[in-house]
Structure formats: C-alpha cells, structure tokens
Subunit: 252 residues, 2 copies
C-alpha cells in the first residue's frame, strides 16, 4: 500500500491546530493542486476566498457557530463561480442567459467540492490537517454579503487547514456493503440489523469534541439529526435564486 492510500485510510478531521503559519510556499502548492483539479467541461466555474482578516474570521465563526474556525491558520471558502465566465462571454458580445441556469450551478458546485478535496489530500500529503466547514452555509445570505459575492456566485463549503495539534481516533464508518452497490441501488429489509456492529463500534469511539464522552450510536445520531433540521438551510434555494440563478422549477 502506498503512502497516499495509507494517509487516506487514516484520515481524521483536525479541529485544533498549532499556532504556526503554513509557509507561503507550501500554501502556494495547495492552491496549485486546487487549480489543477479536474473541472466540468473545462469551465473552471469555482473560486476560493482565502480569509485572512481577523474581524471577517470572527464573523464567519459566528455563522458556523464554531469558535475554533477563527483560529485555523488558513481558512478557505470555496464558491460556485459563474460570474467570471458570464463576464468573459459578455466582453465577447455574448449575452446568453444560460450562465445562470442550474446546470451551470451544479457543475460549479461539483467543481468547488472536488477542488476542496484535492486540496485536503495535498495538505495531508504534507502532514497538514484540515476540517471541512459545511456550517458556513448556516447563513449563506450573510456569508455572501461578508465575502462580497457578486451575482452568479455562491458559497459551497469552508476548509480550515494547519499543523495538527491533536491526535483524534479514526472515526468508524458505515460498512462497505451499505455504501457500494452493483448495477442498481440495493435496498435492505432491516437497516438496524445491518448496522448493529457499526452502531456498537461508534458507541466505543471517543470524539475529542466531547471531552472523553461516549458518542451516540450512528442510528441514534441519524435520529437526532432528523429531529433537528435547520429551517434556514432547508430554504437555501431561495438564496441561490437571490444570487441570480434561474431555478427553473415548475409551478411558478
């Protein structure tokens, strides 16, 4: 097994970092890996905002409701970016409205995500750690304002990167048989039965965020999540529309 695979199989989220800057040369390599990521039809419809301003970091940490966000040595926000390509087309006297369709949006969203993961892998190959911050979407409207995101851009996910200052356990994951299927989706008769071992394994896992407290079984975590939806995030498409995208949904 090669070094990269070893690192991937030992992936942990790192939330506490050493108070040490990532050297600029190393940061440039991370960005270069990001820039070289595959992109839907070569359109490169994603961008990165590197957040260095202290006050801005504090505001983003408030959106995330995660205090440690502002302490990450590097904080990146990945965005869907169709603004750039629209302007390029406009400058070439092309004023088609298709820059704002949901096909472009999802292509840009995919571009942004795979760029983020490519940077995560580049970081881990250099012994850096990272934490994904889906929580930047808790208030996408506010984040758009904070980052001055123009029309046809939208935040996708955040990423904190730095030198790890903690050594968490590897988090147990759902069995492969429940996640990889052949030729068609496989429905199981009894998920709790299939998850029995995993639920037990998860119950013995110690999450460093919870100071040596046992975590819930996976199925209990699922129930807790289902019982606690985030109404603002559930309405996210309305904000995507406010950013200029044409949802193109029937019935209105």
């Amino acid at each position: 097994m090669n070094e990269m695979i070893k690192k991937q199989l030992a992936h942990r989220t790192i939330r506490e970092f050493k108070d040490e800057r990532i050297p600029e040369e190393m940061f440039s390599l991370l960005m270069e890996a990001g820039r070289r990521t595959a992109s839907s039809t070569g359109m490169q419809a994603s961008s990165i905002i590197r957040v260095t301003d202290k006050e801005l970091r504090r505001e983003i940490a408030l959106i995330c409701n995660q205090e440690y966000v502002q302490r990450a040595p590097e904080l990146l926000i990945f965005i869907v970016d169709l603004y750039r390509n629209k302007k390029i087309a406009n400058e070439k006297q092309c004023f088609e409205t298709s820059a704002s369709d949901m096909d472009r949006f999802f292509s840009g969203f995919t571009d942004a995500c795979i760029m983020a993961q490519n940077i995560v892998n580049a970081a881990e190959s250099m012994e850096l750690g990272s934490v994904y911050l889906g929580s930047v979407l808790n208030d996408s409207e506010k984040l758009c304002k904070l980052l001055k995101l123009p029309e046809l851009t939208f935040p996708v996910v955040g990423l904190g990167i730095g030198y790890p200052n903690q050594n968490p356990q590897i988090k147990p994951k759902i069995d492969m048989e429940l996640r990889v299927f052949e030729n068609e989706y496989k429905i199981f008769d009894n998920y709790l039965k299939e998850l029995k071992d995993y639920d037990e394994e998860m119950h013995t896992y110690y999450d460093l965020r919870e100071a040596n407290k046992r975590v819930d079984t996976f199925s209990d975590q699922v129930v807790t999540r289902m019982k606690n939806p985030n109404p603002k995030r559930a309405r996210m498409l309305n904000n995507i529309e406010e950013q200029g995208f044409d949802l193109n949904v029937d019935g209105r």
Copy 2:
C-alpha cells in the same frame, strides 16, 4: 515536493484505458479510500453504484453521448443518498420529514463529490487514470430509472477508472490571480485582458479528443458553452423534486 503533490500537479483526464481489469484488491482500496472520506456531520449521505453490466453501460454511454464510457474498466456513479438515513430513522420510529430537505440534499451532494475526488487521488497514486462524467446528468430521470434509485437519492457524477492508454498534455488552467481571492471576491475590469496569455496558451494545447486539431481559446470555449445550454439539465431541480426532495422555494 512530495510524490502526491507531483501527481496532483500533473493531473490529466484519461479517456482511453488499456483493456485490462483493475485487480479486485486494488479496487477495494479505492472503495476503502472513498468510504474513509470526510462527510457532512458524519451522516455519510452518499453511495456508489458500480456499473458492471454491459447493457447498462451501453445505456449510460448513450446518456453521456460518450462512446468510451462503456469501455472504461471501472464505471462508478456517485449518488446523493438520504434514503438510507431516512429508513434508519423510520426503523427507530422517527418519521420527521427533514430527510428530504435541501440542506440534506446539498450535504449529500458535497459528500458524493469529495468522495469521488478522494477516489481519483487514490487511483492516481496507484498509476491509474480517471475521467469524470458530468454527462451522466444529461438525462438524470432516465439514469434514476436505470440504476433503480429510490426516493431521496440522486445521481451526482460518474467516474471511469483504468490503466491509462494515452498520454495527454497537461491542460492549461486559468491563472491563480483569477481564481483565489483574499477576504472578498475580486472583480476585474477587463477579463479578456487578464486572460490574454491563458487564451494563447490554450490555443496551442492539443486536445487528444480532437485528433491534433488546435482547440479554441478559453474565452471562445466559454462563449460556445454559453450559446449551447442544455435545457433538460437546466431543469434538473424538477427531477430532484420527483425523487422526493422538498425544494422549499418561495412563490408556490
């Protein structure tokens, strides 16, 4: 520079593969890397369909309008999967409807994308090549039927993997200054001016798909894309709704 970063900076899409199976042990490592990928709030709301059936591959190649799709030694379709977690909650007597909200959908979409890229990185670390197939979404409705995707699942992206049987040039990418910004989105006065060198560089790049024909400049490619939207893909949200997700958009 370590081996992983070197590989990332030399990333190319591989569309032609040797007629040689990936050993099952190696394939298992790819799936294991996928399974170990970070996941939004630990919910693991994504799954993979491994397509091995010949007729099914032919049908998917037709959707993609890319004949080589059916020849890839491995063909994977990554999906948003909230079906599993909904069933788990149901079996625990939790019948909340939040499994179908767009917050879960986008979390699952993100999970699926970053899992795909983690597998791409694992593949490249073992000298395999890959091709992303955004084109599986050309007819998401048909793909849902072909893969028997139940409610609360949706296709995200496809991936072909195998031993490379071509050696393409590295594709030029937009300059970093246009893709990574500090603290706020940076708007440029004249994109064509900023892109001048890149446009020239792209024009000297030879795309193997076009048999040694010069490709258009990037800005011309953008115009061509804008002038040729895909109306079916632009209406994708309606199919996402048909799969059981609650779009929660104002005005209807």
